[in-house]
Point group: none
Chain length 184, copies 4
């Protein structure tokens, strides 16, 4: 009975951005198109271009949503730790467990890394994310240890899907602790 025009509801923009993240994960930024996003979100093509003037705009928004989710988890895990030992446990869990990022989210993070070299907004997002993770780590580690541990976490997340032999939790824990002690 009602027309489809007019203020349909709230959250349309967010729905589109969230759906776009899924498209990026499934196809990569290089094959992400307005059309695929519209189809996946089950909204008219014109609706996507209405909310997002350029494709890079949608892509960035999708990445911003991802970063909000992921950095919240990162911060929560570390903020909950009461001492450095607990913080080492938390980092180990981030690296080895499933609590930090799903398989798909990891793929999206790769895409963001690549994309950020060609897009300023994404680049700033990355820089923000880096700064945030450092703040969380700095509550428990020296600045230098935070940098090193962060790098280790980053690298592990990238290598994980390619690894043939899984690095076990104990080893990860030991490496983190060693870094923390080496850079007091």
């Amino acid at each position: 009975m009602g027309s489809e025009r007019g203020s349909n509801d709230t959250g349309r923009r967010e729905l589109i951005a969230a759906t776009a993240l899924g498209v990026i994960i499934a196809h990569g930024v290089y094959r992400t198109t307005y059309r695929k996003i519209a189809e996946a979100a089950a909204v008219p093509l014109g609706s996507v271009t209405y909310y997002f003037k350029t494709l890079e705009d949608v892509v960035c928004s999708a990445f911003e949503g991802l970063m909000a989710t992921v950095s919240a988890r990162y911060a929560a895990a570390l903020d909950a730790a009461e001492d450095q030992s607990a913080a080492c446990d938390a980092v180990t869990e981030l690296v080895c467990g499933d609590s930090f990022a799903s398989e798909g989210e990891l793929v999206a993070i790769y895409e963001l890394y690549a994309f950020s070299n060609h897009n300023d907004r994404a680049h700033r997002l990355m820089a923000r994310w880096l700064a945030l993770s450092r703040v969380s780590l700095s509550r428990h580690f020296s600045v230098e240890a935070s940098q090193a541990i962060d790098a280790f976490v980053e690298g592990r997340l990238i290598h994980r899907p390619l690894e043939t032999v899984e690095l076990d939790r104990t080893a990860v824990r030991r490496a983190i602790t060693a870094i923390a002690l080496a850079l007091p």
Copy 2:
């Protein structure tokens, strides 16, 4: 006198692949096109499509060239080390110095990471590269230490362009040594 047609010379294929890498670095895979490559290489469009039947074919070939270069450097640096201490020095240089990869090559490496999630050939290339770096590291470190150090290197390379305060060489050296000792 000679026609401009015909076998211009050997190496045309290689020229195109090498040029493609430059295009990828400048624009990202998501904006890499046959046309941009042809223009950058100053060859006819038909020449690019003649040597590379699909665009993904050129992209993968470009990445293969990159990996050949970069993994050779990685291996050379580690093979030259005579003991674990020298290996730690070598890794430190890889991470902090300019000898491993240029700014542009780093950008290309992230592109490859992202691309590999959506392309089998690139995925296999990545896996091969990971395996190779492990072999190089394993000559000096335990398997577990190799995995951990490799992750650390990876993460540092990603963070380096974003870092506001540069992590100094001494700290890097110390972190690597600590990992090596912690995972004997």
Copy 3:
């Protein structure tokens, strides 16, 4: 305190039409859009479409405003002339001076000429304008001289911006007088 909605004031319609003329002058009819007009007039897009149901409607209204201005000037100049000699002076001034139409108005007039071949309302406007100018001229010249002088004026206005050597006032005056005398 008052809402921003509601009857903002009278003259909104006129403001939009007048602004549209500026857009036409700046971009040409072929690149005139509702959106450009709305932006230039600093009114909401919906406001433009509210007052003018179709784009051709705005364009015609803009042209009507232009013609009102311009034909008033034309008529005033000729009505003020007391005899044929003064009328020749007046026409000379219309052709050579700045009093008849600004640079922008001239551009708009050519747009109207072109547009009138594809739009009935504009065509009728043109015909009206032609008739009016003839009435003004006929007060001082024969019908045939009026036609000829009007044509001469028209052509001069078109050629003026393209002329490399400016036709001097004396020559124009002499041509007009000659036509007037030749067609008594």
Copy 4:
């Protein structure tokens, strides 16, 4: 049976430009689109965009074709005249007869006038056309008379389709002669 690829024939470009002129005449520049041109020329859309990178490119090419035709006629008519009197006859024929430009060509000329204010290439074309017509006239008239007569011709051509009472040949002839004599 053959494929549609490969060198189809010559003149494809010219065919498209000529067809574009027809579309401009029928719809006006402001409603001329790649699609309409392709359909009218019965060639694939991609063919039009292949030969003409931008729409303004097609439009200009169409106008260039028109000008070539029309200025050739103009020059021919005047070059054939043996003395000033014959030149006056020739100009009269240009203005009153059908030999100079068809109804459609006149419409296209209006379009060119309007378009030239928003496009440099078209502007240069107009300037060239003006210069050419002056050269033709200057063979028979003084520079000042040429300017004036050219303006008269221009204005007549514009007014002709709007005129309710046709200006007769005798009057036109008399006006031209008068101008020629007034500006020796």
